[in-house]
């Protein structure tokens, strides 16, 4: 599997580290909402299809990436620098 890092270009999977599901929202650090924390830690959408997830190009530029990958075919649909992707989301 190749992931096309926006900075480095297509690189082998062995250079990357999976950093988890990008669909969940971390509660505010001061939050006492038990169910919100429970959902953040345990609930997963278990997608069959296009899945939003975080990766790090740990064996390369070390940037954190927001990736959309099909869990059915492993096809990588999109890759963005996580910070830029999240700033765009937040601006919406």
């Amino acid at each position: 599997m190749l992931i096309a890092c926006p900075y480095c270009g297509p690189r082998d999977l062995s250079e990357f580290t999976y950093q988890g599901d990008a669909n969940r929202t971390r509660p505010h650090p001061m939050s006492n909402d038990q169910s919100a924390w429970n959902a953040y830690v345990y609930d997963r959408v278990n997608t069959a299809g296009d899945h939003r997830e975080f990766w790090q190009h740990s064996g390369g530029c070390r940037a954190h990436l927001a990736v959309v990958r099909s869990t059915l075919t492993h096809e990588i649909k999109s890759v963005a620098i996580a910070r830029e992707s999240m700033n765009r989301e937040a601006a919406k």
Binding site: Y7, R11, S14
Partner: protein, 195 residues
């Protein structure tokens, strides 16, 4: 000036090694730069920091990933978003850059003692490095001046192509001797010279 101590020292044997049938395919050398400095821009400050690096080093750096340049004893290249490495054979570049880069612009991290620089040069240099890294080392995919961040297993490596047949590698000093062993073993089949 203090004497530079090499982490490769016990295993750094100058001369000709390996398969000598075809002559020497590659030359390996530790370049021992006096300054290896990492610079990182705060978000939105990439352009401003790149311009300061250009002014201080006198090198032209394009605003594209991995862009680098080399003149005589100085090299600079981008290796990650908003991050550059500046290398100089002279000591003290860290101080020069720190004086010019305010805390509003980014950070300056002097890695002169933390990295070991190894030059791989010769007609088999591309082939040798292809054995170690999952990268395309052909001149089309990896032109002179460009740099790439990659890793061989856990040995993180910055690779700067400083000539048609030359690559400058930067590895963690603590891994350097082990990496040097690997490099020598990999160069055995081509015949190599340690300079």
């Amino acid at each position: 000036m203090v004497e530079i101590v090499s982490p490769l020292e016990p295993d750094y044997r100058r001369g000709a090694h390996g398969n000598r049938e075809g002559g020497s395919g590659v030359t390996l050398s530790e370049t021992q730069p006096g300054s290896i400095v990492q610079l990182a821009a705060w978000p939105g400050q990439d352009e401003a920091l790149r311009k300061v690096i250009q002014t201080v080093t006198g090198l032209h750096l394009d605003a594209v990933p991995g862009a680098g340049a080399i003149v005589e004893n100085t090299a600079a290249f981008g290796f990650a978003p908003g991050r550059w490495l500046v290398v100089d054979q002279a000591e003290g570049r860290g101080e020069t850059l720190r004086d010019r880069i305010g805390s509003d612009l980014g950070t300056v991290c002097d890695l002169s003692h933390g990295r070991t620089a190894i030059a791989v040069e010769g007609e088999r240099a591309e082939r040798l490095l292809s054995k170690l890294y999952a990268l395309d080392f052909s001149a089309g995919a990896f032109p002179v001046g460009q740099a790439k961040s990659t890793a061989h297993h856990d040995v993180f490596t910055l690779i700067h192509r400083t000539g048609v047949d030359r690559f400058d590698l930067y590895v963690y000093r603590s891994f350097a001797r082990s990496f040097w062993h690997l490099l020598r073993a990999s160069a055995e089949e081509f015949g190599y010279t340690v300079e």
